[in-house]
Amino acid sequence: MRKFMKHRNQREELYRRGIDILLGALFLYASIHKIIDPESFAVAIYNYRILPFGLINIAAVILPWLELAIGLCLFFRVWYFGAVLLADLLLSVFFLALLISSIRGIDIQCGCFSTSNEVTLAGSMLWYLIRDGLLLFLGIYLFIKTFAAFSHVKKGGIKAEKSRQESINGHS
């Protein structure tokens, strides 16, 4: 049983590392275009018609660097807890923005990985929603595994599991 638990923990750790690297790489990739071309990114934010006019430029200047920092932190596991929290927050905001736009019937280029404002065939809102939903799902998995695992150990979950196993082995 202990061997099984060890394998399970190793597998979960592997999944977590995989998601770290995937989300980190995606955040890094997404930030590059926006850092190079903040004007187009500002237009992309404006197209959503969610943020007030005064905040669009500030968001266009700060968001790409925030994505870069989150990407680096997730990739190298530096300031890891903060990076996981911010990544989940950003992914939720992006998903909500896309959801609101699709409910309003606005068909725009999402500006997630490219700052081009031309609406292409590949750029349908449904595809953006599915993609962001999937990333958000991975982010939530990472959040739960990062923050809930500790409380399990602290409450003596592993000790309780061990004593339960010992009692089972003792009876057999």
Binding site: E39, A42, W79
Partner: protein
């Protein structure tokens, strides 16, 4: 869990501060005119 969340808040503040400072400095250095 509480400790981790507190640490997460602290670290996310640091990351946010980094992004704000670097973003503003980079924009001043490049002096890119924003359209809006």
């Amino acid at each position: 869990m509480k400790d981790r969340l507190r640490r997460a808040l602290w670290e996310s503040g640091l990351i946010l501060a980094f992004a704000v400072v670097v973003g503003i400095i980079a924009n001043i250095i490049r002096s890119v005119p924003l359209p809006l």
